[in-house]
């Protein structure tokens, strides 16, 4: 009996050591993750669809700023593209689509990554290749990405695109809020070129104030809603329009941060490795006890 107890303690110690080793790395894991800053000074863009004239110069400028294939400048005045709703893709980080609208007859709206305040793509990315930067941009790191496309599964606006036809080095492509340009104090390419100032670049807080002012001063012109103020916890790009955008232009989304539920499950399951370690200890205990039971049965 004494022998048994000593062995049991030894076994427990073995289990303790191995699980202890796992828990030792816990603090690192708890911290591990991509940059995900929600700064008070984060920037944004206010898109005023009632001002946009659908000239698509932003598409051209964006392509130029990102080494994409540009068409002739004049091609962008061709309105045939408006016949169908396009989506941002690997060569167009932004697209302008035309939608029917009661008030103005029709309305053109520019689409791109929304640069969510709580980006699902950043939360989802297996290797932390996507990050939310201090200035509000959500950007992608080519050196980390493994091409798993989980960011595309996660994004509530279905924005990231993949270069599916490249066997080597396919990239995830999406609007990067002109991170390289704004770093040097330049405006995002699309904002800079817009001839009618449909796009306003500024601190997100200030943009919200500005948007509310516009709605108040011209209530006859605007649908009383700022799309992006609250959706999935808020987005850096904000939209004013003469009509409801949720449902047709954008998906209908709730106001809770998109990655909220999955992150809390994740953290619950792995809270400081307590559940796995407890399970390990429990199984170890069962294994030990059933072994003893076995022995005593054999003796009988």
């Amino acid at each position: 009996m004494a022998q048994n107890r000593r062995d049991f303690l030894k076994t427990l110690a073995t289990i303790g050591v191995s699980t202890g080793a796992i828990s030792a790395v816990t603090p690192q894991v708890a911290k591990a993750g991509p940059t995900n800053i929600l700064s008070d000074n984060r920037m944004g863009v206010l898109v005023d669809a009632t001002v946009c004239i659908g000239c698509r110069k932003c598409e051209w400028a964006c392509q130029g700023a990102h080494d994409k294939v540009q068409q002739d400048f004049i091609e962008y005045e061709n309105n045939d593209v408006f016949k169908k709703a396009r989506r941002p893709d690997t060569n167009n980080l932004t697209v302008v689509n035309k939608y029917d609208s009661e008030l103005l007859g029709s309305e053109t709206i520019k689409l791109q990554c929304m640069h969510c305040d709580h980006p699902a793509c950043v939360s989802a990315c297996i290797v932390g290749a996507l990050s939310k930067e201090e200035n509000g941009s959500v950007i992608w790191d080519t050196d980390k990405c493994i091409g798993c496309r989980y960011c595309m599964v996660a994004c509530p606006f279905q924005v990231p695109a993949l270069e599916y036809y490249k066997a080597l080095d396919p990239k995830i492509v999406k609007c990067d809020f002109c991170f390289e340009r704004t770093k040097e104090g330049n405006l995002p390419a699309c904002v800079e070129i817009c001839p009618v100032e449909a796009l306003t670049y500024g601190k997100r807080e200030d943009l919200l104030i500005e948007a509310k002012k516009r709605i108040k001063n011209h209530s006859e012109k605007y649908f009383n809603y700022i799309y992006g103020e609250h959706e999935v916890g808020g987005t850096a790009w904000l939209y004013l329009s003469d009509k409801e955008l949720a449902g047709e232009v954008f998906p209908k989304l709730g106001n809770d941060p998109a990655p909220g539920v999955s992150e809390s499950i994740q953290h619950g399951l792995f809270a400081y490795f307590v559940p796995p370690v407890a399970l390990y200890a429990l199984l170890g205990g069962i294994m030990w006890l059933s072994k003893d039971k076995d022995k005593s049965e054999e003796k009988l």
Binding site: Q28, S123, E163, L283, M287
Partner: protein
Amino acid sequence: MIKHLHKPAPITKKYFTPGVILISLIALNGLVFLLGRFIFGIGAVTNLNDQYPWGIWIGLDVGAGGALAAGGFTTAALGHIMHRDKYETIIRPALLTAMLGYTFVAVGVFTDIGRWYNIWHPLIMWNGNSALFEVGICVMFYLTVLYIEFLPIVTERFMGKVNLPGILSRLNKPIDRLLHTLDRGLDRTMFIFIIAGVVLSCLHQSSLGTLMVVSGPKMHPLWQTPVLPLLFLLSAIAVGFPMVIMESLTASHSFGLKPEKEVLTSLSKFVAPLLSIYLLGKISDMFIRKTFVYLYEFNTISILFGIEVIIGVIIPLRMFLSKAVRESTTGLYIASMLVIFGVLMNRFNNFVTAYNPPYALEPYVPSIGEISVTLGFVAIEILLYRLFVKIFPVISLPVEKVNFKTKYAIRRNSK
């Protein structure tokens, strides 16, 4: 001492039969498309696009593949941890299936990800918020554990039989000694890996369920629920034994052995309780979230849900409750197949049917290339299984009273 009437031994039957040749052709066809994927890119072989980034390579190869290899950890828990000696003959075949199954989960991931040469990144680039990261890490570790668990079978096969030809023969002795040391070391420490294997399985089976949670409203409410991880874990546990039963019956049929009916019949007693726990979870989730309203609409989605639950869970549950079914080889086979089908369907539904991206113009249908590669991988797994049981002592053959060790316990050092 317990009398052993069975002892694992390499199977001596010849490798190629007409069936095996057919399977080889399916494997070959898959490899052709696989080559296409690596030469021309994912877009050339699949129907995936920016709206549908994941298809059957994730849904079936990874999602269902992982679940169907769950027999490995459920039998390990039953045989090693709970120490039910009578199940020892099924542990090795289940281990082999799990090992091959998870190897192909990894191969499936490797095939599916665009930048496959970065597959090792999760080892050093961590994102604790990502369910996929958790899956990736656990699968990598679990695969290692499975290989370690299989090692003793390798040492057993070659211990005292190392016989390298010619100049290499000088290595015979040292290799043999190495095998002996390895065997002794493994014997003593194996319980650590066995427990770790079960823990890692529970972790990633549930994390596989968390995967789609982040897609939020893009996923149909019939499947989208915060308890997905629990449902995935419960269904994986429930499909473990049916998978073992199906394989054991298939193997004994294919190798002309007598089915291990007695063991399988008593193993099948566990299935109905496990399935009912899963069903209970699924139904109560449906009522708590009131998603049954979506079943009133008669469309593809509700039909697929119905097939998954009725044919894949309720009918086999009823079958496993019946003593007559449990005691008949055919009954066991059909009921097990239905459970397997149900879990396969469930994973397909979760990853493919339920996923409904906001701007999709037409639904995703897997391409010939995707189907070929998926079938090809299954075929290669079967071929490897057949090869392994011919080389290694995996399947138990009837023998007279002998002593052998297929089981591990927490060791005492006093011996």
